[in-house]
């Protein structure tokens, strides 16, 4: 199979440091505008919609007990919803809450864990679980594990920050 790229594949001709950097940097530009930008706009619009409609206030009250376990306010639940669709949207929502003064920097640190660990679950189900042709009987478990990881991650970071005296 020739489609799999191996990092060992040496370039045919010797490329200099600057060329290689520029090739990667161009990818970064594309990631910034094509991947992060749409997800970020979605995250911001979602938060705006939740705020204006008053749902955010309701979420804050309902989710407060659950989010409290992780040292977070109820509003932070919006971050989990955004993250589920796209990692960057979760990060955008969390950054938005931080700018608005709803969460603190240590709380943003806790929220990075679910943004990564339970981020983009639907999209990556196709890209990872289906592509690798893993046992379809385990599908519910494949979905449950990232959620468990996210909960464990939030508690872990909360403990570390508490230990460091930041919370």
């Amino acid at each position: 199979m020739s489609t799999a790229k191996t990092p060992a594949a040496a370039p045919a001709k010797k490329e200099n440091f600057i060329d290689v950097f520029v090739i990667g940097a161009r990818k970064g530009l594309s990631v910034g505008f094509n991947t992060i930008m749409p997800a970020m706009v979605m995250g911001y619009v979602l938060v705006q919609a939740l705020k204006v409609s008053g749902i955010m206030d309701v979420l804050a009250v309902i989710c407060a007990p659950i989010m409290g376990l992780f040292g977070l306010p109820g509003e932070a639940f919006a971050v989990l919803i955004s993250a589920f669709f796209a990692k960057a949207a979760g990060a955008g929502a969390a950054a938005n809450l931080y700018t608005a003064g709803v969460i603190t920097a240590p709380q943003a640190t806790i929220l990075l864990m679910p943004c990564m660990l339970m981020g983009t679950l639907i999209g990556h189900y196709a890209r990872i679980v289906l592509v690798s042709e893993a046992n379809p009987k385990l599908t519910p478990i494949f979905f449950a594990i990232p959620l468990i990881d996210a909960a464990v991650g939030m508690i872990l970071v909360r403990l570390i920050l508490t230990f460091m005296g930041l919370m």
């Binding site: 199979m1 020739s2 799999a4 790229k5 191996t6 990092p7 060992a8 594949a9 370039p11 490329e15 290689v20 950097f21 990667g24 990818k27 970064g28 990631v31 910034g32 505008f33 997800a39 970020m40 706009v41 979605m42 911001y44 619009v45 705006q48 796209a86 960057a88 990060a91 955008g92 969390a94 950054a95 938005n96 931080y98 920097a105 943003a108 640190t109 990075l112 990564m116 660990l117 981020g119 983009t120 990556h124 890209r127 990872i128 592509v131 690798s132 042709e133 893993a134 478990i141 494949f142 594990i145 990232p146 468990i148 990881d149 991650g153 872990l156 970071v157 570390i160 920050l161 930041l166």
Partner: protein
């Protein structure tokens, strides 16, 4: 080179590869962030120092402004993230060409059996999974098709890859919004995420181990 060959062959790592791995660890660890006095030049080894800051106006506000909302604010905010993203990807490309990934593969392959219960043949996929979801998933399928891993081993490996996929690539690519805010450096955060991924995969590993005889009996029927 076929995938099978790539998996079985031991990668060749020059001193440049090890240097690249060392530089990557330094850059993302945040250790070199706050050096003062005679050691101040070592700040060059810190990722965020090199990314720098935006200029601000008299009120200390950058070009994004203050009090924006909705899609427009999201757009402006993303603009502030793009420079770091461009630099990180360019830098990572250079490290990759220097042989950083091969060095990492040699360093990490021996620990795969104890931490995930998967054979060393998964080394290449494991390292690729740090940066990209797609290549690792294709390699994993190939490993199973080539008989190098069992179905259960593939399940555990996929569970590892699926949660928090591509922790290094996605940390730079998707969490750019949170990186300037968070209280810990990027390196330790990536390590914590990998730790949680390993934890989750081991839950499945235990489950599969516990149900193995039961499943075998069911299939025999």
């Amino acid at each position: 080179m076929s995938t099978e060959q790539a998996i079985k062959e031991k990668p060749v790592v020059t001193w440049k590869g090890w240097l690249a791995l060392l530089i990557m660890c330094c850059m993302f660890s945040g250790v070199f962030k706050n050096f003062e006095g005679p050691l101040k030049p070592l700040n060059i080894l810190d990722f965020n120092t090199l990314v720098g800051t935006f200029g601000v106006d008299a009120d200390g506000v950058n070009f994004q402004g203050k009090g924006g909302t909705g899609a427009r604010d999201g757009f402006m905010f993303t603009i502030t993230l793009v420079p770091g993203c461009i630099f990180a990807m360019g830098f990572l490309e250079v490290l990759t060409r220097m042989g950083c990934m091969e060095a990492a593969q040699i360093a990490f392959t021996p620990i795969l059996k104890p931490i995930l219960g998967i054979p060393g043949a998964c080394g290449l996929a494991f390292i690729n999974a740090l940066n990209s979801s797609d290549i690792a998933a294709i390699l994993t399928k190939q490993l199973y098709d080539d008989g190098l891993i069992t179905d259960d081993e593939r399940s555990v490996f996929v569970a590892y890859q699926y949660a928090g996929s591509a922790p290094i690539g996605n940390m730079i690519g998707t969490q750019a919004a949170l990186l300037p805010i968070i209280s810990l450096a990027m390196g330790p955060m990536i390590l914590l995420i990998i730790l949680c991924k390993i934890f989750g995969a081991n839950l499945l590993r235990i489950y599969l181990k516990m149900t193995k005889s039961k499943r075998a009996a069911k299939e025999a029927k």
